[in-house]
C-alpha cells in the first residue's frame, strides 16, 4: 500500500513539478538593445555575423534527469532532442551532464556564434547556400530539453522542454512607410503606416522621418530629421515651425526588428501648412474685442479663484 501511495505522489511531482526556461541576452545585439533579454524572439541582421549570442537556462525539478540537458539550434521544430535526420542537421550548443543535474544543477549559461545558425549551412530555398551577410531572411529555433525518469525509475518519464526562442537572421530591408500628410497652421501632421507584405511589414518596429523645404530652384533639398524614433504604436508626428503656404518634402523610413532600415519613401510626400482659424480667431474676425476681462493673462483662472476664495473667507469670518 505504501509503495503505491508513494508512486501516486511521485507521478504528479514528475509530471508537473519541473520547469525549463531559456533566455537569450539582448546585450548580444551588436547595434543596441543592451541589457534586455528575450525569451521569444532574437532577430539580427548582418551586423551580427561574427558575434556571439549569449544565453542561459533555468530549471527546476531536474534531479530526475536521465539524459543530458541539451540546448540546440534547428531549422525545423524542436522535438524532444536534437534531430540527426534534419537537413541541415541540428546544432547542439550546450550540454549539461546527468550527474550535474542529479546533484542539483538548476541553471547555467552558454554562448554560440551567430553564424552557427543552421540556416546558414545549407539552402533554405531549394539549393542555394546562404552565407551570413547575404540579403536573406530565415528563422531557426533555439531549443532545450531533458528526459526525466518516471515513477518506476525508468528513463521514459516526462521530457522537460523549454519554450523555444525564435532565432532570426533578417538582412532584408523593409519597405518604406506610406505617409499621410495633414496640413495644419504652421505645422504638418504626418501619419506613417507600414507598407509591404508578410514579414517585411509585420516586423517593422519603428519609423524615422525627415523633412525639407522644397527648393524653389529644383536644387537638392536639405533634409532634417524630426520625431526621433517613431513607434509603430504612435505613428503620428507633427512637424512644427513651418511657413504657411510653402511646400515641404517629407520622407519616411521603416526600421524592422533586426534593425534593418528601409530606403526613403519615394517620391517624397509633399505638404503645405495652411492658416486655420480657431474659435478665438473667428471671434476676433467677427469684430469682437481682444480684452478678456482681467487682461488676457493665462493666470486668469488662479486669480479668479483667489478672489472668490477671499470673498468666501470674508463671509465665513463674519458669520463666526
Amino acid at each position: 500500500m505504501r509503495p503505491l501511495l508513494t508512486a501516486l505522489l511521485l507521478v504528479p511531482a514528475l509530471g508537473f513539478g519541473q520547469t525549463l526556461t531559456l533566455t537569450v541576452n539582448g546585450a548580444s545585439k551588436p547595434n543596441g538593445g543592451a541589457g534586455t533579454t528575450s525569451t521569444s524572439t532574437f532577430a539580427r541582421n548582418a551586423t551580427a555575423c561574427g558575434t556571439s549570442v549569449f544565453g542561459s537556462w533555468v530549471g527546476t525539478g531536474l534531479t530526475a534527469a536521465c539524459t543530458t540537458l541539451q540546448v540546440w539550434l534547428t531549422t525545423s521544430t524542436c522535438g524532444n532532442t536534437p534531430s540527426t535526420t534534419n537537413s541541415p542537421p541540428d546544432v547542439v550548443v550546450y550540454v549539461a551532464q546527468v550527474g550535474d543535474l542529479a546533484a542539483g544543477k538548476t541553471n547555467d549559461t552558454f554562448s554560440f556564434g551567430f553564424n552557427q545558425l543552421p540556416g546558414f549551412a545549407t539552402a533554405t530555398d531549394g539549393g542555394t547556400s546562404v552565407n551570413c551577410g547575404d540579403v536573406f531572411d530565415f528563422t531557426n529555433l533555439l531549443c532545450a530539453g531533458v528526459q526525466l525518469r518516471d515513477a518506476t525509475n525508468a528513463c521514459t518519464g516526462t521530457v522537460a522542454q523549454a519554450s523555444p526562442i525564435t532565432m532570426r537572421y533578417d538582412n532584408v530591408p523593409p519597405d518604406p512607410p506610406l505617409l499621410t500628410v495633414t496640413p495644419l497652421d504652421s505645422r504638418l501632421s504626418v501619419r506613417l503606416t507600414a507598407a509591404g507584405t508578410g514579414s517585411t511589414a509585420s516586423d517593422i518596429q519603428s519609423f524615422q522621418l525627415q523633412y525639407a523645404a522644397e527648393p524653389v530652384d529644383g536644387g537638392t533639398p536639405s533634409y532634417s530629421a524630426v520625431g526621433g524614433t517613431i513607434s509603430v504604436n504612435n505613428p503620428t508626428v507633427t512637424i512644427p515651425n513651418l511657413v504657411n503656404g510653402e511646400n515641404y518634402l517629407i520622407q519616411g523610413f521603416s526600421v524592422d526588428e533586426a534593425s534593418n532600415v528601409s530606403g526613403p519613401s519615394t517620391p517624397p510626400a509633399v505638404g503645405q501648412p495652411v492658416l486655420t482659424y480657431g474659435f478665438y480667431a473667428n471671434y476676433l474676425n467677427s469684430g469682437g474685442q481682444p480684452a478678456g476681462g482681467c487682461g488676457d493673462a493665462a493666470g486668469g483662472a488662479p486669480s479668479a479663484l483667489a478672489v472668490l476664495s477671499v470673498l468666501l473667507l470674508a463671509v465665513a469670518r463674519r458669520r463666526g
Binding site: F279, G292, G293, A304
Partner: protein
Amino acid sequence: MRKALLAAVLLLAVPALAQTEAKPLPNTTILEVKLGFYQPRVGDSPGATSDAYVQTFGNSAMLIGGVEVDRSFWRGYGYLGMSFSIMYGEKYAKALLADGSPSGESTGLMVLPMRLMAVYRYDVLANRFHIPFVPYAQLGFVSYPWWTNKGGSVEIVNGSKGSGVRWGWGFTLGLALEMDFLNPTYAREARADAGIYHFYLFGEFNDDFANNFGANGINLGAAYFTFGLAFEF
C-alpha cells in the same frame, strides 16, 4: 392665472401662520453635483457682427458639470445662506480654413464658471407640511475663467492670447424635489447615522451676465439649465 396666484399666496401664508409652533431648524450645508448645457452669448460681445461660437461649434451647447456648496446662516422662515459653485465645460470642433471649410486641426473653448451667490430656499413646505418641493433662488457674482485651444495649445492671434477671465452677475431659479418620501425609513436612518437631513433631485434655470458688466471683451454670459443631485447635512 388668478387662481394659481391665489393658491401660491395661500401656500406661502399657511406655513407663515404656523411658524410660531415650529421648532428652530439647525443651520445646514447642502452639497450639489450637477450637469447642464451651456451656450455663451458670444454673438452679443461688443463689436461682434456674428456669433463666433455658432460659426465654430455650430448651434450646439457644451456640456458643463460641477459642484456647489450652500451654507445657511438663518433658518427662521426658509433657508437663507451663501453658495459657491464651480463648473467646467469644453467644446471642440475643427478649426476653419479661409473658405470656411473644416481644417485638419481642432479648436476648443473651455470655461470654468464660478458663482458666489446669496441663496434663499423656501423649504417651509417640506419641513412643516411634508410637501416635498423646495423652490429656491440665488443672486450674486459670477467669474468665468476661459481659454481657447488650437492644435494643442492656447490660441494666439496677432499676439492676443485667447484666454482670460470675465466677471459679472447672475441669478438662479430652481426647484428641488425632497426625496425623503420615497423611503422614509432610510431617510430617518441617514439622518441618525450619517447626519444627512435630506436628499434632493433638482433642476434650475441660470442666467449669467459674464461680460465684465458691459465692458469690452468676449461675452460669456448665458442662460442655461442645470440638473443634479443634492444632499443636506
